[in-house]
């Protein structure tokens, strides 16, 4: 199942940088090496089994932007599932940005009326911390107004912190066909093994694609933080040409287990009873694997794998 995702925005707004960090394992610092994108760069990202993201990174220089809307609107805007439009928060020519945004939006609504629209207010790190909220609220209000009759969801992002993961995680989750079933099963699993929290990560990007919690946690940004933390560690391992298979982190208050799960996911299970032997949780994770594998690839259920018990 291919889903077409358009990544648009003015030249230099940071489209290719964020794409490289999320999908190509770049470190934020390395993105300074990226050059301008010429025309459209296509990339296919296999994401969860049979879901393939067909990412169109559209170069943002003005000549290209005009071309997209006037000469080849069919080619670009047809069959789009998602439009991600990136705004540089520090941009000096806001009016022009908005003008291009509206032309793209018009073409999109004409060619793919059902496409979902996301606006990322990017480079938030350039603002002073206390300003970020206010500026974002104003921009969000403006964008929602400007996008009528389309519905738009806004995110504030920066490649230097976890906000990037939050935005992409939300976007990508929307594209997963059986996400509700996944979440139900995950909740059931968490209840059976008495976990505080279970997170499911996509293997390559470490975006959180599903989660459930049974115990309150004071930190509402923790999912994207965990994504970021683990992705950073994964990059450290790759410097030595290694990958991690599993990890366990504990102290007196909790125990967290991160393990390869299905062929496309990692799972993280957080337990609050540190006295429970690690092996018990690991066995439970191992036993749940087969069930989730089937859930992810319903077509491959050729054999009689229906005796999925957790204990």
């Amino acid at each position: 199942m291919k889903k077409k995702v358009l990544l648009m925005g003015k030249s230099g707004s940071g489209k290719t940088s964020m794409r490289s960090i999320i999908f190509a394992n770049y470190v934020a610092r390395d993105t300074t090496r990226l050059g301008a994108t010429i025309d459209v760069e296509h990339s296919h990202v296999r994401f969860l089994g049979n879901l393939v993201l067909n990412l169109w990174d559209c170069g943002g220089q003005e000549s290209f932007m005009q071309q997209y809307c006037t000469q080849q609107p069919d080619n670009i805007f047809r069959n789009v599932e998602v439009l991600i439009y990136v705004f540089d928060v520090e941009s000096q020519e806001l009016e022009r940005d908005v003008h291009y945004y509206q032309s793209c939006l018009e073409a999109l609504l004409h060619n793919s009326p059902d496409a979902k629209i996301f606006c990322l207010v990017h480079k938030m790190d350039l603002l002073a911390e206390e300003q970020r909220d206010i500026v974002f609220k104003v921009r969000e209000g403006d964008l929602i107004g400007l996008s009528k009759p389309g519905n738009v969801t806004c995110f504030r992002t920066s490649i230097w912190d976890e906000t990037l993961y939050k935005a992409w995680s939300s976007i990508v989750t929307m594209l997963i066909p059986n996400v509700a079933a996944l979440e139900n099963s995950l909740t059931h699993f968490a209840n059976v093994i008495e976990a505080d929290e279970v997170l499911l990560f996509e293997k390559a990007t470490f975006l959180v694609i599903s989660h459930c919690q049974s115990k309150k946690n004071r930190d509402s940004h923790r999912f994207e933080k965990v994504s970021n933390i683990i992705k950073q560690f994964k990059l450290s391992c790759s410097k030595l040409g290694a990958k991690f298979q599993s990890m366990e982190v504990r102290n007196n208050a909790f125990a967290a287990f991160i393990d390869t799960f299905t062929s496309n996911t990692y799972i993280m299970v957080v337990m609050s009873d540190p006295n429970l032997p690690s092996e018990a949780t690991l066995v439970n994770i191992r036993n749940a694997r087969k069930y989730f594998e089937e859930l992810e690839n319903p077509n491959n259920v050729a054999t009689n794998h229906h005796n999925h018990k957790y204990h």
Binding site: K225, I229, I230, Q232, S236, L240, F244, M247, N252
Partner: protein
């Protein structure tokens, strides 16, 4: 990872955390105890303005991500920052602007240099360093006068983006000039060490590790313990880490692979970050902290808490981890031995400071420090505050 600075107070280590004793009174106290009988090594960080001291301090001790240091404002007046609370190493960072001569009154060089183990002088490799070297010479001469045991360490800093050849060239040049300066002043006997550092990789941690290791009198014992622990547990390499700064204060005698050390640093970061989310910032590293990571190249990383400041990170083959029981048992022996090494020192220090305290009381106090983890803070504070 910048989120720490968004959701939490910027300085995660409040200054009044319990070790209030190392203000100026504390310094006097140490100056009086003539045989340098403190339990933590103390380090001064000095250098010209804009040489990168504040950035080093933020990156190493406050976990600021290196790219954020470009936003740091330049330090315009003398700043003294003590980082005693949470680290095994006691640091003092003195930042002096070029026009102020800290050696002359009202600055008491006696107070600054006495009781100090090492002086780290930061030189910006990308700048003209003649002025820095002149300042360095004056500092060395003054410090040596006050405290001839002080170790002099030069960080040739900001070497990221400089080719290996020119790194070597500037190190050679700085070495040559500073040695010439000192022999002119008739101080040939002073030994200088040089380190090439950058905050954008782990070289700054590596350099600090080497500096700190020179200041730990127990180092041979610690290394010995590691050398016994490792082969008996089927472990290939082990680092004893100061958790807060990710400085390794000891390792076994096998050679250090920088990449492995970096991975261990990143592991500690990961463990602490994750623990801060699922317990709390203050209790992220506690007596139950441990972590186990399996890599796909048949390697295991295993971390255990040693004491309030220290953690042991071991690297071993997967097949050797089958005997985890043996490793854990050996680890407990190792941990006990380490606490004995430091207890001995604490005890001697107490005896020196309270010659008339009787032995029973001493034993009681010791029991408390060893057993009562909950009271650990208070005990340690009591130790350093003892009159």
């Amino acid at each position: 990872m910048s989120y720490e600075h968004e959701d939490y107070p910027e300085d995660p280590f409040p200054k009044d955390f319990g070790y209030g004793a190392y203000d100026q009174d504390g310094l006097d106290l140490e100056a009086n105890a003539s045989n340098n009988s403190e339990t933590k090594p103390r380090i001064l960080l000095m250098g010209l303005r804009r040489s990168g001291k504040s950035s080093i301090q933020k990156v190493v001790f406050h976990k600021m991500s290196p790219n954020e240091t470009v936003f740091l404002e330049s330090t315009s007046k003398i700043v003294k920052d003590d980082i005693n609370n949470s680290s095994f190493v006691q640091f003092q960072i003195w930042d002096f602007p070029g026009q102020i001569d800290f050696i002359k009154p009202p600055f008491d060089s006696d107070m600054i240099f006495r009781g100090c183990g090492a002086l780290v002088f930061v030189i910006d490799a990308k700048d003209d360093y003649i002025e820095a070297l002149r300042k360095f010479k004056d500092t060395v001469i003054e410090a040596y006068k006050v405290n001839p045991h002080i170790k002099f360490e030069v960080f040739i800093h900001k070497v990221d983006g400089i080719s290996d050849d020119s790194k070597m060239e500037s190190q050679r040049d700085i070495h040559q000039r500073s040695s010439d300066d000192l022999s002119e002043a008739g101080l040939d006997q002073i030994h200088l060490s040089f380190h090439l550092t950058s905050i954008y990789d782990h070289s700054i941690f590596e350099a600090f590790s080497k500096v700190v290791q020179k200041l730990i009198p127990q180092l041979p014992t610690l290394e010995n313990l590691l050398n016994i622990f490792i082969p008996n547990s089927g472990i290939e390499k082990a680092f004893l880490f100061d958790v807060v700064s990710k400085i390794y204060i000891a390792t076994d005698s096998s050679p250090v692979d920088m990449q492995i050390y970096e991975l261990c640093c990143d592991m500690i970061d990961m463990v602490i970050d994750l623990s801060s989310i699922y317990s709390s910032e203050e209790t992220a590293f506690d007596s139950g902290s441990s972590s186990l990571i399996k890599l796909n190249n048949n390697t295991i990383l295993y971390m255990r808490e040693v004491n309030k400041f220290l953690a042991l990170v071991c690297i071993l083959r997967e097949e050797n981890f089958n005997r985890q029981g043996v490793i854990d048992y050996n680890f407990i022996c190792f941990r006990d031995a380490i606490s004995e090494v430091f207890e001995l020192r604490l005890k001697r220090q107490k005896q020196l400071q309270n010659p008339d305290q009787d032995d029973d009381e001493l034993a009681d106090d010791r029991g408390l420090t060893m057993g009562g983890r909950l009271n650990h803070d208070n005990d340690a504070a009591a130790v350093s505050r003892a009159p």
